[in-house]
């Protein structure tokens, strides 16, 4: 029986790793969406290397938080929305879901703004690009053909690897870059703190916690393979932030110090594209635009869809693209509603796209602590996690993230009161 194991032998040798690796990498890739690219670029352009240390700190937080979510998914086999409902009842769940809807509406706006900004670089006005993109996204998901496109979009995300090349080609002052990466530097201005919230909020996003855990739970990974899924999320976090790191380095080297205060306050996507000039020359704009459009389009699919899943899962309503509209009205309603809100907000005349994107990341950063607190309660509950409850290290890192975001938010709120320091 020589042929017996032909099919077995064809086995992907890396089966285990392949089966487990995935959710973390995919989510992290989707992380460098319109919000991410814009925030990191603005950070580099406005503050040079001064925010690198924060990115390094956020990377640790991202790795820890993603590990927590994926561990919760593996151990319980349930999504975050599911667990929130079972642990916190109707009131706690309603609050969490309102926050999620709010944050994700902002995120969806950012994705549409990203699509609009990217296509404007090719001369397509947003009044054309946004409605077309909205209809395309809606059809892709409702027709169930999204998984096919996912791979294409994910590979477009690889465009941003060019930032690494660009970051190396600009020959940044490595001494300063390294020093800035480990020595915290705070510029005590409102702009700095706002951008800091955005930077944390765009890296460790609320929606990703729901998406990642649901994806992990769906895979049904046995507890014994926790180690593999840890590798997945850690590698994912690292890859995302290496790219983010070089986005900041490249924009800092090419843009920082060359722009006036007024220009910095009104950045255009085209300005950010100049950071890719060292690697792409006159194709920098096109390269930047393609990456921005691809990443925004990908997240534009994922965010509304994962929101609809989370909310319907929490309230026990029918869900899934396999249903008809009349069978799952809440599911399709939320999904459609988010797309409509995202598209309409982007079409508001006179709204600068870049500011809109940065604002939405601030909203995410302000909401994130609440979601992290929900996660921390769940992860420390022995009835839910058994012997896989959170360790001290994870609690500390997540706790610090929560505290920092609350302090930053407080600073921003206080600074808007006239007469106090920082207020303008």
């Amino acid at each position: 029986m020589d042929r017996v194991f032909v099919r077995l032998r064809r086995f992907r040798r890396l089966f285990l790793l392949l089966a487990v690796v995935g959710p973390g990498l995919i989510t992290s890739n989707a992380d460098n969406d319109a919000g991410g690219i814009t925030t990191y670029s603005q950070a580099g352009a406005q503050f040079g290397y001064k925010m690198l240390w924060l990115l390094v700190a956020v990377t640790i937080s991202l790795a820890v938080v993603n590990e927590m979510g994926s561990r919760m998914g593996v151990v319980t086999g349930k999504g975050l929305a599911d667990l929130i409902r079972e642990r916190f009842g109707v009131r706690g769940t309603t609050f969490a879901m309102l926050l999620l809807l709010f944050a994700n509406a902002f995120t969806t706006v950012a994705e549409f703004a990203g699509i609009a900004a990217g296509l404007e670089l090719f001369g397509v006005p947003r009044y054309v690009s946004v409605p077309v993109a909205a209809v395309m996204i809606w059809l892709l998901v409702v027709r169930g053909s999204y998984p096919v496109v996912e791979k294409v979009l994910l590979s477009i995300g690889l465009v941003y690897v060019t930032y690494i090349v660009s970051g190396l080609l600009v020959h940044p002052p490595w001494n300063e870059v390294l020093r800035s990466s480990v020595v915290p530097q705070i510029v005590p201005t409102r702009d700095y703190f706002l951008l800091a919230i955005a930077l944390i909020g765009t890296t460790v996003t609320p929606w990703m916690q729901f998406y990642l855990q649901a994806a992990v739970a769906d895979k049904g990974i046995p507890n014994e393979n926790l180690a593999y899924s840890r590798v997945d999320v850690l590698v994912g976090a690292l890859v995302t932030d290496v790219i983010a790191f070089f986005i900041i380095v490249a924009t800092a080297a090419t843009l920082h110090g060359h722009l006036s205060g007024e220009q910095l306050a009104n950045m255009q996507a085209g300005d950010f594209a100049r950071a890719l000039t060292p690697v792409a020359g006159r194709f920098a704009t096109a390269l930047f635009a393609v990456g921005l459009i691809g990443a925004s389009f990908l997240a534009g699919n994922v965010v509304p869809l994962s929101t609809a899943y989370a909310v319907t899962e929490a309230f026990g309503w029918e869900r899934g693209v396999g249903h008809r509209f009349s069978e799952a009205p809440a599911f399709f309603g939320i999904f459609t509603g988010l797309i409509v809100v995202g598209a309409l907000a982007t079409l508001t005349p006179g709204l600068p796209l870049v500011s809109m994107i940065l604002l939405s990341q601030d909203a995410n950063g302000i909401i994130l602590p609440a979601i992290l607190v929900y996660m921390l309660v769940l992860l420390n509950d022995r009835r839910i996690m058994g012997r896989y409850v959170n360790g001290r290290f994870a609690n500390a890192i997540a706790g610090v993230t929560v505290a920092v975001l609350i302090v930053l938010t407080a600073i921003i709120v206080l600074s808007s009161i006239p007469g106090l320091p920082l207020s303008e």
Binding site: V6, F11, V90, G316, E327
Partner: protein, 425 residues
């Protein structure tokens, strides 16, 4: 109507009018048809439990529970570890509504006072339960009436509810909770396997396991057959190897081969080793073929009889073989070396005279495909000749297996079309 969430928080007063605490939970004894409330939990942390027999009066409106005994007598009572707590173990959890054949969430639990005993009679799965717990039920009702609408109550009787809860607990095996809640055999097991499959496909991996653990091997195998390949793989992966092999034994070899292909090699080999010898041999043969070819699609469960039989002998042989429904479309006629000589339909057999040799009534020009033929070609052949199944033969025209029209259709239909199919209700 009395709901659990209306009782939670009610004041508990002892016989001397002293306040003991508030109702945090209710414990029930699981029985048919309706579970009966056995006690009150006053402190969740200390698990302080008051037996229902100590309750003198229960006023739902004033939200007050009066006891027969004093605080001191009660302080010593502790909940039993295997008690079912309604708020902790059932409320907010997913359950299967076996009547509606769907997975729903428990927004509230309906209780009925029947001669001093409190019975759990139903689950509120509708929006009313959510509004009630947000404290806006009355307001929403008035608002709805303003628009000339009615907010209907969505209650399902406890008789048709099957709990799924499985909370991992360091002291207990993971599936224990579901087992504790189980009532004289799972109701879900009585559904059609296709409905069970629909239900479990909506569940997380671990909840799926609890459902499968309670099905008999035969029903588990039928259910698995109705599921998508990746879900099949995930179910088998999570199962104890011995039980998995027993379930695989009950499935057609072609489906088993598909599942094993997706599993890690050592797991697949272990399962093959545990399966019955015959089934394992069949599966191994199928594993030798590429996935999207006739060989990969075919099943080895087909009916082949010797060319020397008469019609009557052939019918007797069929009776002895008891073939599965999907393989009885055609009866294949072979010689001593398994060469395919002809094919008979059941109709041909029945209308023939009993003593007629089958070689004289069989069709000799058999349409057949080769194991290496592409799935598309197989589908084209089935469609062109209007066949329900087509035999697979090797280079010497020896029969190897059978591809049925539904397996071929599955292989060639685009994924998006399959998922758009409406669910039967």
């Amino acid at each position: 109507m009395l709901f659990l969430t209306e009782i939670l928080g009610a004041e508990v007063i002892d016989v001397r009018q002293r306040r003991i605490g508030a109702v945090r939970d209710l414990t029930v004894h699981v029985q048919e048809p309706y579970p009966i409330v056995t006690g009150l939990i006053v402190s969740r942390r200390r698990e302080l439990a008051i037996p229902w027999s100590e309750v003198r009066t229960f006023a739902a409106v004033t939200r007050e529970v009066a006891l027969r005994s004093s605080r001191e007598e009660i302080e010593s009572r502790r909940a039993q570890p295997d008690d079912v707590w309604l708020a902790r173990d059932v409320l907010d959890k997913q359950v299967v509504d076996t009547d509606g054949r769907r997975v729903v969430r428990v927004n509230d639990l309906q209780l009925v006072d029947s001669g001093g005993r409190l019975l759990l009679v139903g689950a509120d799965i509708g929006v009313r339960g959510i509004l009630r717990r947000l404290g806006v039920e009355a307001f929403a009702k008035r608002l709805a009436r303003l628009f000339g609408r009615d907010l209907p109550m969505a209650l399902v009787s406890w008789e048709v509810v099957d709990p799924l809860n499985s909370v991992p607990d360091p002291q207990r095996p993971a599936s224990d909770d579901a087992v504790r809640l189980r009532i004289s055999g799972r109701r879900i097991a009585r559904l059609h396997p296709a409905d069970i499959a629909d239900i479990v496909e909506e569940l997380g991996a671990k909840e799926r396991k609890t459902v499968f653990d309670t099905l008999t091997e035969e029903i588990a195998a039928d259910t698995l057959e109705e599921m998508e390949l990746e879900d099949q793989v995930s179910v088998i992966e999570h199962m104890d190897a011995r039980r998995a092999s027993e379930i695989l034994d009950d499935m057609p070899p072609d489906e088993v081969a598909d599942i094993l292909t997706e599993l890690p090699k050592d797991v697949a080999e272990q399962l093959l080793g545990l399966m019955t010898k015959d089934e394992a041999e069949d599966v191994k043969e199928l594993l030798a073929y590429e996935e999207d070819t006739a060989g990969g699609l075919m099943t080895t469960e087909y009916v082949a009889v010797s060319e020397n039989l008469t019609a009557q002998e052939c019918i007797d042989e069929l009776r002895r073989l008891e073939p599965d429904a999907e393989s009885v479309y055609y009866v294949f006629v072979i010689d001593g070396d398994e060469h395919l000589k002809g094919v008979l339909s059941l109709r041909d057999l029945i209308v023939a005279r009993p003593d007629q040799p089958i070689s004289s009534i069989m069709i000799r020009d058999v349409i057949a495909v080769h194991p290496d033929d592409d799935a598309q070609e197989v589908a084209a052949v089935l469609s062109k000749y209007n066949l329900l199944a087509v035999p697979v033969v090797d280079d010497e025209f020896r029969i190897q297996g059978l591809v049925t029209v539904d397996d071929a259709l599955d292989a060639v239909l685009p994924e998006s079309v399959k998922r758009k199919l409406p669910r039967a209700h």
